[in-house]
């Protein structure tokens, strides 16, 4: 316990020759979360996809959608691409805390694995969206296939996030109640969040209704919970960092 605390104090105090402190780097990593949310939802707004396009669109409608405001859509996909990279820094910020929980090493690793796959869960659809928007004049059926290939994993690729949230949830709940690194409710919150994203797994069965990729239980609940998770975790980690600096 004392070694962990000593290591923590050393971390906070560590100053590089250029004056970049561990604390400052941690602060940047923590602030990547709201930036990620802003880029992700900003990209959806720029693409004109709030609410998202219906999965029941015909190939012609999908092609027409990409032919309209094509450059704005391309810009949106670049923002999405950058946003995916941004989330990597937040994975590192969470890892820093989980590493401090005695006995949670494997869970800390698991969080990094889930979070790393989570970067891909945003970056890969962004690339396929870019491909779809690259030649909007092509055969509409091909554009529709690319659109599906991007949209289905973009909304439905929840497994990385499940791994991440469950790893954090278990690690936080196994803490010594006397010396918590993160508040205990964060553990329940992460397990609940993991549970809530499960309806998203139903999206491939539907093109209309509440479980379609634009439906209330898949897009709106999952988007709110997912975006909200980054903001809540940001707030929690920022508080821990501030308390540490004092």
């Amino acid at each position: 316990m004392t070694t962990v605390r000593a290591a923590r104090e050393r971390d906070v105090a560590a100053v590089t020759p250029r004056g970049l402190t561990e604390h400052r780097v941690q602060t940047w990593c923590v602030w990547s979360a709201p930036l990620f949310v802003a880029l992700l939802f900003g990209a959806l707004l720029v693409a004109g996809w709030v609410p998202p396009p219906s999965p029941s669109q015909t190939p012609g409608q999908v092609a027409a959608m990409y032919a309209e405001h094509t450059d704005l859509k391309r810009l949106a996909f670049v923002l999405l691409f950058l946003g995916g990279g941004m989330s990597a820094a937040f994975v590192a910020a969470i890892d820093h805390r989980l590493e401090q929980i005695p006995g949670a090493r494997a869970l800390a690793r698991l969080q990094v694995i889930g979070g790393t796959l989570g970067v891909f869960a945003v970056v890969l659809p962004a690339i396929v969206f870019m491909v779809a928007a690259y030649r909007p004049e092509r055969n509409p059926e091909i554009t529709q296939a690319l659109h599906d290939l991007a949209f289905i994993p973009f909304i439905g690729n929840l497994v990385p996030f499940l791994i991440q949230a469950i790893a954090i949830g278990v690690a936080v709940l196994m803490q010594d109640p006397e010396r918590p690194v993160l508040p205990r409710w964060v553990g329940f919150y992460n397990l609940w969040t993991a549970f809530l994203t499960l309806p998203g797994l139903l999206l491939i069965f539907f093109r209309t209704g509440a479980f379609a990729w634009n439906g209330v239980l898949v897009f709106w609940v999952v988007a709110t919970v997912f975006g909200g998770w980054f903001l809540v975790m940001f707030w929690v980690l920022r508080d821990v960092l501030r308390a540490e600096a004092r």
Binding site: R184, G187, F188, Y189, L191, W192, F195, L196, L217, W220
Partner: protein, 196 residues
């Protein structure tokens, strides 16, 4: 038995049962179910006649049986918490086992209902009513199954002759979750079986 000195009697203070964290889970889950309830209400408002017609296919009797079973398990669970607080492990164990038995009965009846509906040709593919019927009751059934695991954990705790404050808190957390499962069913039952 000696009378407890007055100082040891706790004044009725306001207190959250279980640990605070479990309420994030419970309230959060209820918010999601609230969205499901709104989806059902919108489906009903959209085409009342179709909703009422589909409802005829449901087995109201089995629905009522399950409602009675689940409300009874809430009672046995509340009594189990009381027994645990009063340090009566044998009574508490019996009551938790009764609660778990009720959960198993509920799940079994649900399986009978599902089989019955599918044999009669009603599946999640039939229309919106049956899609939401299967998905929402399925989501609820998943809660019941998780609840069984939670109750199993509670059973291991109440078996001990002496319970600490933290143990009691865990028992209360489990009970809070179970009451939520019951409460959500009451609303689901009302909307699916009787609205229309």
């Amino acid at each position: 038995m000696s009378a407890a000195p007055p100082a040891e009697r706790e004044a009725p203070v306001s207190r959250t049962p279980g640990e605070t964290g479990i309420w994030i889970f419970v309230l959060g889950d209820m918010v999601v179910f609230a969205v499901c309830f709104v989806v059902l209400a919108v489906t009903y408002a959209h085409d009342r006649a179709a909703y009422a017609a589909d409802q005829q296919a449901l087995h109201l009797g089995l629905g009522i049986v399950n409602t009675v079973v689940l409300v009874t398990t809430s009672l046995t669970m509340a009594l189990a918490v009381r027994a645990a607080r009063l340090a009566r492990p044998r009574t508490a164990v019996r009551l938790v086992v009764a609660t778990m038995a009720g959960a198993v009965v509920f799940a079994a009846v649900k399986v009978v209902e599902y089989t019955d509906l599918v044999v009669a040709g009603h599946t999640a593919r039939s229309d919106d009513f049956f899609l939401y019927y299967f998905c929402f009751t399925g989501l609820h059934l998943l809660h019941v199954v998780i609840g069984l695991a939670v109750l199993g954990g509670v059973l291991r705790i109440v078996r001990r002759p002496v319970l600490g404050r933290a143990d009691l808190s865990l028992v209360e957390s489990g009970a809070s979750y179970w009451h939520m499962v019951d409460l959500l069913w009451l609303v689901l039952f009302g909307l699916l079986y009787t609205l229309g």
